[in-house]
Symmetry: C2
Subunit: 145 residues, 2 copies
DNA sequence: TCTTGACCTTCCAGTAGGTGGAAGCCCTAT
DNA sequence: ATAGGGCTTCCACCTACTGGAAGGTCAAGA
C-alpha cells in the first residue's frame, strides 16, 4: 500500500506518517523503486496512533501504548496507569486554564474599552505587586499543549 | 544594571532576557566590557512581559501589548480586544480539554485495571469507527500550550 | 600579585510534533 | 513524448525558550 492510500485510510497526513517512520513508530518496507510499502498492520498501527494522539497522549506515551497494543499478554493495569496519569495532567491543565480565564474575564469586564487610555488590564500588567498572581500557576511552555 | 540584577528583580531567567533582546523586545545598551546595561525602563518592560506571559499571552501579543504599554495615547479598546481574543482562546481550550477529560475518565473508570489483558481503553484506541471522536476536537499542536 | 569564583559573553543544539517547500525520480494516461 | 500526479529526500521553520561549552571580566582574599 502506498503512503497516499495509507494517509487517506488512517486520516494522517503523509508528512506525519513519514515523520512517524523517522522516529521509529512504524517500519514500512520498501519497493524496488524506493516507495514505501505499508502492510495492513501498519495501517492499523497508524490509525491507532491517530486516535491516541487525538486523545492527547504524547508521542512517548503512544510509543508505550503501541507496545502494549502489540502485546496480547499485557495487563489492563498497565494501560490504565498511562491513561490515568494522562487524565490527571489534563485535569490539572484545566484547573490552570480556569484560573487564567477567571483572571482575564475579570480584567476584560472591568475595562470599559473605549477611546480613553486608562485601562485596568494595562494597570494590572504594569503593577509590580504580586496580589494577582497568588493563585495562578505559571504557564509551562515546555509542556507544549 | 547587569543582567543578573535585572533577572532577580524581574523574575525572568537571564537566558530568557537575552532571548527577549534577540527577538527585539528590549534593547539594553552595552558597557565597554560588552556587558549589557539595563535601564530602569527595561526592567519595567521585562516585568511587564513576565506578567503578560504568565497570563498566557503569546510573544506576539506581548509585542503588541508592549507597544500599547509605551503609548500613552492608546485606547483601552485596543488592549481589551487583545485580552478578549486571548480569553476566547483560553475558554475554547478549556472546553476541548473538558471533553477530553470526560472521554478519558469514562475509559479509565470502565477499565478494571488488573492482570488480565482485556481493556476498554485499548478497545477504544483500536476501534476503527468514529463514534467516540464525534464531539472531540483534534489537538492543535501548533498552539503550543 | 596571583588565584579563585562568580558573573558575563557568544554560539550551537535541542525540546515536541510536526509543516512547508524545493529539487528531483517514477508511473500512467493521452 | 509529455503532462500530471505521486513519491522520494533534505532542509528550514514554528513556539518560547533552555542547556551547555568555551571563553572574557571583575572583585575579593591570601
Amino acid at each position: 500500500m502506498n503512503i497516499g492510500n495509507v494517509s487517506e485510510q488512517s486520516g494522517l497526513p503523509a508528512k506525519t506518517i513519514r515523520y512517524y517512520e523517522d522516529i521509529g513508530l512504524v517500519q514500512p518496507s520498501r519497493r524496488e523503486n524506493g516507495y514505501r510499502d505499508f502492510a495492513v498492520q501498519d495501517l492499523h498501527k497508524l490509525a491507532f496512533l491517530g486516535r491516541a494522539r487525538s486523545l492527547g497522549f504524547s508521542i512517548d506515551e503512544c510509543r508505550t501504548l503501541l507496545s502494549l497494543y502489540e502485546d496480547r499478554e499485557r495487563s489492563s493495569a498497565d494501560v490504565k496507569a498511562i491513561a490515568q496519569s494522562h487524565l490527571a495532567r489534563v485535569d490539572q491543565k484545566i484547573e490552570e486554564l480556569q484560573a487564567l480565564s477567571a483572571t482575564l474575564r475579570d480584567l476584560v469586564v472591568r475595562c470599559h474599552g473605549d477611546d480613553r487610555p486608562d485601562c485596568p488590564i494595562m494597570d494590572d500588567l504594569t503593577r509590580s505587586d504580586v496580589r494577582r498572581r497568588e493563585n495562578i500557576p505559571l504557564e509551562q511552555p515546555s509542556e507544549h499543549w
